[in-house]
């Protein structure tokens, strides 16, 4: 670098470097460069479709026909549409009941599998089966199990003389809800159980031993040692579990298509029914967008709630 005096002004000249070179020498610039592919990916495949979906919800687009902006009309219609509200109720009920059951049963299964059992690895492997079977296949199996004429459950109970006629699993609104929830729980338990099992194995044995020496009973050890240490992983697992359950589609589509009389229609299946076979893309998108606040709520709750240290340690705010 050299400094010269020209006509009373100081001019600084430096070796000419290209923009790229300077960027690659800067720590932040390099970081930015490395993030670009990921950012482009996210923009193209997440932000754009999401933005498009939100936009479609404000239009009257049909399949293949560009729509015009109609403001909140889709939402106003949905607000007054009892089928939509029924699907919201169904979705919340489905998510809540199925998630709680999956958590309780999954945790219980994880605790059992964490014991020293014979053939431990074998059991751990087969526990995953419901999760690895393609959803549509297991849904078809449940379709037969819940069939109004050929249900194996009805058949066995009738054979034992406990009931006289087949149980109307998918025909009665409440039984239908219970049936689809049961199928979802069966499918979802392994995910929760295996994740929690992984969490359990990170808890040092020494803590349990120390607690035991201090006279903690089995329940106390679970309550004051296992549970607090497991909370972070519970938060993550349950967040995913809620998201999977809330957006479930295949089970309902195979088992009932939302029937009987929309008693098992979830927001996802209603959105599909109106958008794709019905061609009303705008309205379908609006239903899908209406799911976002619920999903955000679930995520915020688990990330800012369940991960709070005070909560984890059993205290209040």
């Amino acid at each position: 670098m050299s400094t010269t005096l020209e006509g009373g002004k100081i001019a600084v000249s430096r070796p000419r470097t290209s923009m790229l070179t300077r960027l690659s020498e800067s720590r932040n610039g390099l970081g930015l460069l490395f993030m670009l592919p990921a950012a482009a990916f996210l923009l193209c495949f997440l932000t754009y479709p999401l933005g498009l979906g939100v936009w479609l919800g404000f239009t009257d687009t049909s399949t293949g026909r560009p729509g015009v902006f109609i403001g909140l009309e889709n939402y106003v219609w949905l607000w007054n549409d009892n089928v939509f509200w029924l699907s919201v109720f169904n979705t919340l009920l489905y998510t809540f009941v199925a998630t709680v059951l999956k958590f309780v049963l999954g945790l219980w299964l994880a605790l059992v599998l964490n014991q020293h059992l014979r053939f431990k690895n074998f059991f751990r492997a087969i526990i995953l089966l419901p999760w690895v079977v393609p959803t549509v296949l297991s849904a078809l199996a449940f379709w037969w199990i819940f069939d109004s004429q050929f249900s194996i459950i009805s058949f066995v109970l009738m054979d034992w003389g406990l009931i006289e006629r087949p149980i109307n699993f998918l025909g009665d609104p409440n039984l239908a809800r219970a049936s689809v929830i049961a199928a979802n729980v069966w499918r979802g338990i392994p995910f929760v159980a295996i994740c929690l099992l992984a969490g359990l194995q990170t808890i040092p044995q020494s803590l349990h031993e120390a607690a035991a020496l201090d006279g903690a009973k089995s329940w106390q050890r679970f309550r004051y040692v296992t549970l607090p240490l497991l909370t972070p992983i519970i938060a993550v697992v349950m967040t995913f579990s809620v998201l999977f359950t809330f957006t479930d589609f295949q089970l309902i589509y195979v088992l009932t298509r939302g029937g009987p009389v929309n008693a098992t229609h979830l927001m996802a299946t209603l959105s599909f029914q109106r958008a794709i076979p019905g061609g009303q893309l705008g309205e379908g998108a609006a239903i899908a967008v209406a799911m976002i606040p619920f999903l955000l709520g679930a995520i915020l709750f688990s990330f800012f709630g369940l991960q709070r240290r005070k909560w984890q340690q059993g205290g209040a705010d």
């Binding site: 049909s62 399949t63 026909r65 004429q149 109307n168 298509r257 029937g259």
Partner: protein, 439 residues
């Protein structure tokens, strides 16, 4: 002037005889197609047809054989893409609107009315075919016409008919099948009392559920909208239809609220149910299974009963053939259609479909498939009893969306299961229909 296959064959035989005797040369085409315009395919033309996945193998073979014959005669290659039947609608709509993809589409119901301005006008061909083959059935023609022009050619109705067990109906005290709704209710009541109930789907069965719901409504004189598209569901006729549906539902096998399209077949073939409505496929499922010959021998078919309107009215499933105006080869496409509707070719196709597809033109009523088995006979009337979806209103987005959203299916299901009073079920349906027909 109308020709059927036999007449053409006889005519052609006579002609060959005359030609042999007198040395006259006359193209066969001129006879069979006297009024049909001829289309010369563009040089180097190729075509792509988007069609639904065939339900009957012989139907596919006949269609492909006709297509091969067309390629041999004209040199135009035709590629046939098959899509599962629920995917044809969105794919065709997208192709129409982005102006690319298949040249022709074999679509469902009111599909073509969702993009009428994206289709090649086939009025000339449609009119000529109608005149040459005894006329189109009005219901099917309604699906293919917009005002005075043909935007597509009607292809077929997938017939729906009652399939019942003759022995069980007889055991219920009916030597003849009742052909009116009142008698039908009595029959179903007797069947239930005998422990061999009937069953119609009240669940989200795309085909069977909609067929049943529309028959209930129309046979009692109800209508969803009027000619102008104003909602007209709230009527005493609809209420009567619902009351009838409730009475009939009380006689059904339990569980029909959850029935999807396949359930009635299953229950019937397992001998749990004595009477259902279905395509002819149900009969062939039994006939082709050696273990079910007893049931197959016992199956009889008949049209759905006539209600207070005094005529046989049904929805059935309908298919049309349309040419997209983005095709670079519209003449080749028209030539293809003209070829497929030639008497011999159409007859071979209808025969291949073995009563699954009902002819669009009256001349083909005499196709031998309809007399080859008494089981087929009711299905031959599908095109005649067919009414377009949303009858008598205009076809388009609204009519398609109302069906896809199961509005009528839900209305009847809500009322028969007691989830709503009939009046509330009608009011709810009215609100939902209004939404789609609002524009």
């Amino acid at each position: 002037m109308t020709f059927n296959r036999r007449q053409i064959m006889t005519g052609a035989a006579g002609l060959i005889g005359t030609a042999a005797l007198g040395g006259i040369t006359m193209p066969r085409r001129a006879f069979a197609q006297n009024a049909i315009p001829t289309y010369t395919p563009e040089a180097g033309a190729t075509l792509r047809l988007l069609r639904w996945v065939p339900f009957v193998k012989a139907e596919e073979e006949a269609w492909n054989a006709n297509t091969r014959a067309f390629t041999e005669a004209t040199g135009v290659e035709v590629r046939i893409d098959q899509e599962s039947w629920e995917d044809v609608r969105p794919k065709a709509a997208v192709a129409a609107n982005i102006g690319s993809g298949p040249d022709l589409v074999m679509g469902w119901f009111d599909d073509v009315h969702q993009y009428p301005d994206k289709l090649v006008d086939v009025t000339e061909l449609g009119t000529a075919l109608g005149e040459a083959h005894g006329g189109w059935y009005p219901g099917l023609e309604g699906y293919a016409r917009r005002d005075d022009s043909f935007i597509a050619l009607p292809l077929c109705a997938i017939g729906n008919a009652i399939c019942y067990r003759a022995s069980q109906v007889e055991a219920a005290g009916f030597s003849e099948f009742p052909n009116d709704t009142a008698g039908f209710l009595e029959l179903c009541t007797a069947l239930q009392a005998n422990g061999t109930p009937a069953g119609f789907p009240h669940g989200k069965a795309v085909g069977d559920g909609n067929n049943y719901a529309h028959w209930l409504l129309w046979s009692h004189g109800g209508r969803m909208v009027d000619e102008s598209g104003a909602v007209a569901i709230n009527s005493p006729e609809t209420l009567a239809a619902i009351e009838y549906a409730r009475a009939l539902y009380a006689t059904f096998i339990p569980g029909t609220e959850s029935w999807l399209d396949i359930n009635n077949n299953r229950a019937f073939l397992a001998g749990q149910c004595s009477l259902v409505a279905n395509g002819v496929s149900l009969y062939y499922a039994a006939r082709n299974d050696p273990a079910m010959q007893e049931i197959a021998d016992d199956i009889r078919t008949t049209t759905l009963p006539v209600g207070p309107v005094g005529e046989s009215v049904e929805l059935h499933q309908t298919s049309t053939l349309a040419i997209f105006n983005h095709t670079p080869y519209p003449e080749a496409a028209k030539a293809y259609l003209a070829f497929m509707y030639e008497a011999d070719n159409m007859n071979a196709w209808i025969e291949g479909a073995s009563a699954y597809c009902c002819q669009p033109l009256r001349a083909y009523e005499s196709n031998p498939v309809w007399t080859s088995s008494p089981i087929h006979e009711p299905y031959s009337k599908a095109s005649a009893s067919l009414r377009p979806n949303g009858w008598p209103g205009p076809l388009g987005y609204a009519s398609a969306a109302v069906m896809a959203d199961y509005v009528l299916v839900d209305m009847f299901a809500e009322a028969v299961t007691g989830q709503r009073t009939p009046e509330d079920a009608i009011a709810n349906a009215e609100r939902r229909i209004n939404r789609y027909y609002r524009v």
